[in-house]
Amino acid sequence: MPATTPHPVRVSPLLYCAFAFSAVSLFATSAHAQTIPDLVIKNATVMTASHGTIEHGAVWLHNGKIAGVGATVNAPPGATIIDAAGKYVTPGIVDPHSHSALGNDVNEATSPVTPSMMMIDAFDNNDRALYFALAGGVTTELLLHGSANMIGGQNISIKNRFGRSRDEMLFAGAPRTIKFASGENPKRVYGSKGQLPSTRMGNFEVMRQSFEDAKVYKAGWDSYNAKVAKGDKDAVAPHRDLKLEALSDVLSGKLLVEIHCYRADEFLTEEAIAKEYGYKIRAFHHALEMYKVGGEIAKDGTGIATFADWWGFKDEAWDAIPWNAVMSMREGVKVALKSDSNDFVRRLNQEAGKMVHYGGATEDEAIRMITLNAAWIMGVDDKVGSLDIGKDGDVVIWNTDPLSSYARAEKVFIDGDLYFDSSLPGYGTTHFTGVMHGGGFGGSDDESAEDAQVGGGN
């Protein structure tokens, strides 16, 4: 559709992103990377996330990418060498669920269906929450619309190049994603206004009606495009509706669908609706009851982005158990951990460490939950999330095992470039100048019901 859709008023999201991304790509490969000398981190315990841990290993970064990983690497003589004896190296941490840097604009809570909201429009690249995340080793984040709405807005994927411009922080080539939600938050937000939906029945009816409308809209455009393709010069373009266009893109599989929901019955309902209308669900977020139906959901190929051990903060989190992630993983579900919080994003490594405790994840499995699997949730696992040749040079050096209580991120590299160094005075940032902005919304409102009542849910 976009190829033949006129864009009289507003550049379509896809093209808009494409413009931004092409600019970033140029920037990353030419302007920056060539000025960064090759870097070799050696003598470290290298946790690759994809192919195990290498003791006394090395990682070589060249032109912003990973050029070598192993016991030894063939770096050129001029490369900068960091001797990381006694230290640990991991891929940059990936947080697949955050509301950082979106100020107080997380929820367009005026209608339960707002798929044309673009989170890029709220993105504040100077938000200090990004700095705190960077200092915790987080190099990639998915910044999502909140959970007030059944169908929220389109999220943005960022590389945490803190100190760079807004557009330079966007993740070039990341797929478009959209946020859905069901359960208590939309119930509360609209129920309290005496509007639909105030129940789970209402939740899903709103969704079904939206997709029924989108089907009609899509059929109209498909028919028009078919006529144009046949050379029909008299074909009249249907009215362009941003909301239905976005839903139509969901039906066409152009958006990865990320769904906030907690309960096992809701996973099943969401999958059934997805099948009915012909789209795939990329991941359930929170998903605290996945351990109950993991085997079923694994068949649909849907992953989860879950909390390590959050529970009890609301009714739909009452059956949460800290073994959820590992049990779901053993059932074949792709499992990532996420922060949903300006606080927890700073120590996702510890949250992963808890997976060794709760359910006996191997260190490899635990690390993958905050790197490669999290990248998969975002659809960027071909670019980041593991220490493999050709992937982005996003690397963290830790003082000790990152899965322990005692780990601190000492140096954080993104695209081969140093962005954070804890040994530096002041903030420890290398590219940031100016004044950091406040946290605004402050991350999760699932963290406390009180916040949720104010914020409308995310």
Binding site: G312, M327, D343, S405, G438
Partner: protein
């Protein structure tokens, strides 16, 4: 290996195998499991509907009444807190008390003792959380079941959390599962003087067995939080006190009133004793009216019990300390987070400090580790630092907060004390709790590693020497849904 102990470990390892060894199930297996699930849910539903007002709280109570017999935990690494680390140690428990904790070479195991083989394990005293809301809330968003704070007045020293403490809360087994055996229950910090705290044990036959000290300390708060018209519970815009001036004035007036009351009662005349109808209080002098609010403050004006002052910011500490010193209160500073500018001043008060939560976000202009490093910075200045969770759902993560303080410079031994001996000292129970010493209560934890590390699994908790069943609502759900081989 002793029978008891093999039960502990094999249960745990069986669980691990069941989870780790899980293979894709055949459809029949899956269906059977779902049927079981359905039945389970139906049963749960039935149970819940029978107790509609307390739908969630059905924790199994553990009677900790002393039982005869000697238990010997042998071969483990003892973190005694008071007398160092003992590799290959022996810990004896009898009549609910620790009777010995020392090296295997010097502690004789009685012949009739039940032996618990703790080889490869770490043994340490039960952890103490210096501030929680345990038993005052079940599901945070369910206002109808929340008893966090009485909001109708700000000055309420006569509110006693033990009147609301719900001993059957499902939170307690879940928290003790991670080695927390004692806690302070405090009202929420949204008012200047919201009530008195209770010191509890996380096991007992009933509420009374769990309440070790009903009115252990007075909660007092100052700063942005207690302002009315802010975001506090029940906050109505523009209500007094809406500024720090208002808070201090309100507190000072309350303390003056109580002082006058105390003096009047001591001399047999009370200001409020102006009518013949004045109700005579228990223990009061003839004719004097017993006033619950003023009466509640007397032990604190006499300095008999600690006042826990919740105050986050440096300049607020200075303001509230002036007031506290004016009335000679026995001060414990609490909730300290953004006080890096006045660390030396804080040290000069020579009062205990409860830090945290150390996960509080730094303020504008602060470095990322400004709060993480606060415990270490205070400790360097000679302050005894206690770490609290100030929480309910995240309470079980208390030891990890102490571990994180170590990552940012707090010596390990001090971190361990911050959640054992130091809180015991603050709340006047260091003769009974907080270390592995003969004569203390047998609240003991056996884990498979470092208690402060997130990867460590607690294997067994003892409270009053009783082996606590390592079962929680969450382990029951886990076991119910773990695929059966």
């Amino acid at each position: 290996m002793n029978k008891n102990y093999s039960v502990i470990l094999s249960e745990a390892s069986k669980r691990a195998q069941r989870v780790e060894g899980a293979q894709p199930k055949n459809p029949e297996g899956a269906r059977a499991r779902h049927t079981a699930t359905l039945l389970f849910n139906l049963c749960t539903l039935a149970a819940i509907s029978m107790v509609a007002t307390a739908a969630h709280a059905q924790a199994i109570m553990v009677d900790t009444t002393i039982k005869p017999g000697i238990t010997a935990i042998v071969g483990g690494k003892l973190l005694t807190v008071t007398h160092g680390t003992i590799e290959n140690g022996v810990l004896l428990m009898e009549n609910g008390k620790i009777t010995a904790a020392g090296p295997a070479a010097s502690v004789k195991v009685p012949k009739n003792a039940t032996i618990i083989d703790a080889k490869g394990m770490t043994v340490y005293p039960g952890l103490i959380d210096a501030e929680t809301n345990l038993g005052l809330t079940e599901v945070a968003s369910d206002q109808v079941n929340n008893d966090l704070v009485e909001t109708s007045e700000e000055i309420f020293p006569n509110m006693h959390v033990y009147d609301a403490f719900h001993a059957e809360t499902e939170h307690i087994p879940i928290d003790r599962y991670n080695g927390i055996t004692n806690a302070v229950v405090a009202p929420r910090a949204s008012d200047t003087m919201p009530g008195q705290d209770s010191f509890i044990q996380l096991a007992g036959r009933d509420r009374d067995q769990m309440l070790l000290n009903r009115d252990v300390s007075l909660a007092m708060n100052f700063g942005n939080g207690p302002k009315r018209g802010g975001r506090g519970e029940g906050a109505g815009g523009g209500r007094y006190p809406s500024t720090r001036m208002g808070e201090i004035t309100q507190l000072r007036q309350a303390l003056i009133d109580a002082q006058e009351y105390m003096k009047a009662r001591a001399s047999g005349t009370s200001k409020s004793d102006d009518t013949a109808s004045g109700k005579e209080g228990k223990g009061g002098k003839p004719g004097s009216k017993f006033d619950l609010k003023n009466e509640a403050l007397i032990p604190y004006l006499k300095g008999e019990r600690p006042v826990i002052i919740g105050v986050e910011e440096g300049h607020d500490v200075e303001a509230i300390m002036e007031l506290a010193q004016e009335f000679h209160l026995k001060v414990v500073l609490s909730r300290l987070t953004h006080a890096q500018g006045v660390l030396d001043k804080i040290a000069s008060y020579h009062v205990p400090v409860i830090v945290g939560p150390i996960y509080e976000l730094p303020e504008a202009g602060e470095r990322y580790d400004a709060v993480y490093s606060l415990p270490a910075e205070l400790q360097k200045r000679g302050v005894k630092v206690t770490i609290a969770s100030y929480d309910n759902e995240f309470l079980r993560n208390l030891p990890y907060a102490a571990g994180y303080a170590v990552a940012y410079g707090l010596p390990y031994d001090e971190a361990l004390k911050s959640i054992t001996l130091y809180p015991a000292e603050i709340f006047g129970v260091a003769d009974k709790l907080g270390s592995l010493d003969a004569g203390k209560t047998a609240n003991v934890v056996i884990a498979n590693g470092d208690p402060l590390d997130v990867r460590t699994n607690v294997k067994q908790v003892y409270i009053d020497g009783i082996a606590i069943p390592m079962v929680t609502r969450q382990t029951r759900l886990r076991d119910e849904y773990t695929p059966k081989q």
